[in-house]
Symmetry: C2
Subunit: 302 residues, 2 copies
């Protein structure tokens, strides 16, 4: 069976087109790797690349991109809305086909070691690849951002998983630090409400998200879509098998009824695995004894 | 882009295991072809094979299977519940990936010509490959079955599209005739009702199916599932883009309410393309601006 891993590196560059195109050029130059998509946001001053490849290709491209980012991006002069701690800020590996989460954890470790050795950037392993529970959450690692990293790393508990060749627990002077990890595919999924009251979206987001007692693998906030003047529950579904899309939608519908509000539509941002959507079809169509691997034709072709 | 065609030949043999395994052996021997599934039904005395392959492989395997069936299956002594007219009864080609319906029509014509020439079985082209409107429907071609075929074929309007090398419009003496065609993927999809009254299922089937004024690409009958003592609307969805699964389910739910009956579950029999299920997820999740080709991750991998 073909082995396919997704890698979604985030870079702290969303303005200089030549650097973004340079990163794309590096991504396209590695055999066994497909660059599916890349997009930059100027106000965040950040870009996100989506790559797919076999184990050897995906490891090689991650290391090559980290080296390129360290050469071209200088965090000492970087400004942008999005929190960041490194030139390449975060590198997650995601199991897609024929590989387990354990395989992706192993890949994250190998890539982390290679980035520290070859690009001189200290590496924290995060999420499923984390070596300590306190390092599972990216936001915890990134707290203090680039500017606070030297002080943070002086504390023994923040010694990185892989130091630069100097062996010091200190950030790279211009490229900062990077989080490398393994996780399930993340699905950006938003639910639009028949109201312009963002407080309602916020109240519902609080109920639906795992952190405040809701669905374990759902993160969510309420936002106002100013151009459409509607409130939205904006979510990241971090494990679609543990928390399926339909469950979030149905819970939001139920809570919205309290306000006489209904769901006017939903949005899938970027890519989702077929199974995340087919799980919802299975629920709504009330399919009995459905076998995803066997009964979906395309699973016999990949 | 990889070209993939599905072929689902039906054989008039569901009892003699050595013949069924012999057909499977032929199917597995052709390069470029995968035998996804085969199953036999003794009371129907019929077996269904599901094959997937590139154009060259799928043409070769269809001709080889027809020759083998003509040698091993004798319709003069065949008994079974399912209507049939040939040793290999029907051979549909279905576009799956990187091929158009027109490509499948061309393949059906080439395979039909080769079967008539090499296996001596007269061929009717049906559905999208049909040369006359009266031959689009398989049931019309098969009417009269094997036993009535000699008389039927004596009529000028039933001269086959490809005659055996003798040039006569007459069935093969033991292997009958075969319909070869091209069609959209067929999805066998059943909806179970909270009643044991098969009349209710029949009434609903009549409303939902295209032939009596319902959904154009839906065929359906009411049946009683004796082991579970529940009535079922048993459907063939012959074009899931023209008539999506969810639309049949929702129409059945609406009509069932007249009887105080609800849908207890549904069944997908065999395979369905991912898109047929994802179209239903898109409807029920109320996805806005969803792009199947772009946003489903696996579409970038096949």
């Amino acid at each position: 069976m073909t082995k396919i891993i997704e890698c979604i590196p985030n870079f702290s560059e969303g303005r200089r087109e030549e650097v973004i195109e340079g990163l794309a050029g590096v991504a396209k130059s590695v055999p066994g790797v497909t660059l599916l998509d890349y997009s930059a946001d100027a106000s965040h001053n950040r870009s996100v690349f989506t790559l797919m490849g076999d184990p050897a290709g995906i490891k090689a491209v991650a290391v090559a991109l980290a080296k390129y980012a360290a050469e071209k991006i200088d965090l000492t002069t970087h400004e942008g809305e999005h929190p960041r701690m490194g030139a390449v800020d975060v590198i997650p590996f995601v199991p897609i086909k024929g590989v387990t989460m354990e395989d992706c954890v192993e890949i994250a470790r190998e890539v982390g070691e290679a980035i520290a050795a070859n690009a001189g950037i200290p590496v924290y392993l995060y999420e499923e690849a984390a070596t300590k529970d306190t390092r599972r959450n990216l936001a915890t690692i990134r707290k203090g951002q680039f500017e606070g990293m030297a002080k943070k790393m002086a504390k023994p508990e923040w010694k990185p998983d892989f130091c630069s060749p100097s062996g010091e627990s200190a950030p790279h002077p211009t490229a900062g630090v990077v989080a490398v990890g393994a996780r399930m595919p993340l699905i950006a999924f938003n639910v639009n409400l028949s109201t312009s009251d963002v407080n309602i979206a916020n109240n519902i987001a609080k109920i639906v998200r795992g952190s405040s007692g809701g669905l374990k693998y759902c993160k969510g906030i309420g936002i106002l879509l100013e151009d459409r003047n509607i409130a939205q529950v904006s979510m990241n579904m971090v494990n679609y098998e543990g928390t399926p899309l339909y469950r979030a939608v149905e819970l939001i519908k139920a809570e919205a009824r309290r306000y006489g509000v209904h769901v006017t539509g939903t949005e899938l941002i970027g890519l989702a695995p077929a199974k995340a959507l087919i799980d919802s079809a299975e629920y709504y169509l009330q399919l009995e004894d459905f076998n995803y691997e066997q009964q979906v034709l395309e699973n016999h072709l990949i």
